[in-house]
Amino acid sequence: MSEYFRAIDPFPLQSSKNTRLTPFYEALRSQKLLTTFCPRCALRHWPPRVVCPECLAARLDWVDLPSRGTVHAYTIQDTGVPPGFPRPLIFAVVLVEGLRIFTRLVETEPTQVERGCTVRLCPSAVGWDPEGDERYVPTFALVQENA
């Protein structure tokens, strides 16, 4: 017990043994953004759901989302960043076809971020799960033509 022991981290388990959202994460690995769509409500969700919050249907379809969006709001965190995350952290709410996607911007110069600027999906690897499966999260990056 002399070494620090961490049993769990802030990253979701993504393999099909652990979640029904595995198709989302598999698409993310190939740089594609999916979300769930409820055929009964004709409603796209964000984040992807395991049950439609409007009608409680569990049979949802996967649909593609564009990989570009615009920054609706953002903030840059310099201090108080949790261990294991880079400094600074650039958090943003990105609008993708009317959906609000909370995310982090990576590969981006903080001073270049403005409301309304265009960002693209840029998934980040966050380390393996305890069974050795690689995990990704849906981060975005500033599109350079903004600059």
Binding site: P12, I76, G80, P82, P83, L89, F91, F102, R115
Partner: protein, 387 residues
Amino acid sequence: MRRVALVGAGLSRFGVRAAGFRELLAEAGQACFASVPHVTPKDIEGLVVGAVLPERAAFQSHIAPLAAETLGIQPRKLSARTEHMCASGSVGIRYAYAFIAAGLADIVMVLGVEKLNLPNMGEAVLNMGAGVDRDWEACFGLTAPPAFALAAQLHMAEYGTTEEQLAQVAVKNHTHSSKNPHAHFQNGVTLDAVVCSRMIASPLRLFMCSPITDGAAAVILASEERARDMTDKPVFIRGTGQAVHGFSVSSLDPDYASWPAMKQAAGDAYAMAGIRASALDFAEVHDCFAIAEIIAYEELGFCSKGEGGPFAAEGRSDYGGDVVVNPRGGLMGCGHPLGATGVAQGVEAFWQLRGEAGERQVPEAHIGLTHNNSGMGEHVVMIYGRE
């Protein structure tokens, strides 16, 4: 429904404490019993404990029986823990209130307790991420400051709220907490120091944020009939409201500068109490970040939407203004031991309404409000009165 009153209240000192989880709750419990000599632990029929992170910060769940055993209480009508992130304490008070109002218990203690500071501060910061959505937020490194910073960014863009107005809220609350011997910060702070303090999450600087604090708070609630036997100065719960509109940043009400869930919770509480905002002598609001207090002025009806910044700048939320907001120093001045905060707000209401708030006493305080949130879309409002 029966009327319900607070009959006793007590706090531990708040701060970075050389004390464990059990010691903190014992300190608040002792202080609470000391405030109401006619009540002993054996009289307590129910115990509700608000606590958020003991599983991570103290490797401890099973909190309510632990607290009961520590204080020599043997609950026979109600024993429960409430966890609702930063609003856990107020949620606990609502449970106790409902049990007593319904006649299921006559005397219930509500404790709130949190031990957040750890030898490894990185771990303490990481733990705060457990309060946001792990799958879609904490996985990016989100903790509370950046979420509220988004609200500040939009409030500044939509209404012209300024960094100086945010800083004025911080100065006010630190000035108030300098008169509070239980507060984490008791030295006050100047406007210059606030605007020059280091950036946490733009535009929120260090002194515009509540710190990571250890502490505990306790109140005892009783039915009106029993309360009159225990004290000459019961403090009545006059109204309460709670509303939850969304959990994750992506799913909240779309304009982060407006918090309709707070307006809804406040509206229900005002209606239940039969009062308007203008009747309030003081309000303890959830200033986890300076922007939250500015938005609270608006959603609680102290001023119109967008006028929160000037409301602070003109001193209308300070002594001598429209309503004294955060006389104890709020979360920014007192610190924010998550589960303890809502209970500590109740403790302040108890002291203010009994005229026992010392140097920070609001003159002629007859009725006051507490507001506790656990995110921009989740709010609890309580109204307390002398009668």
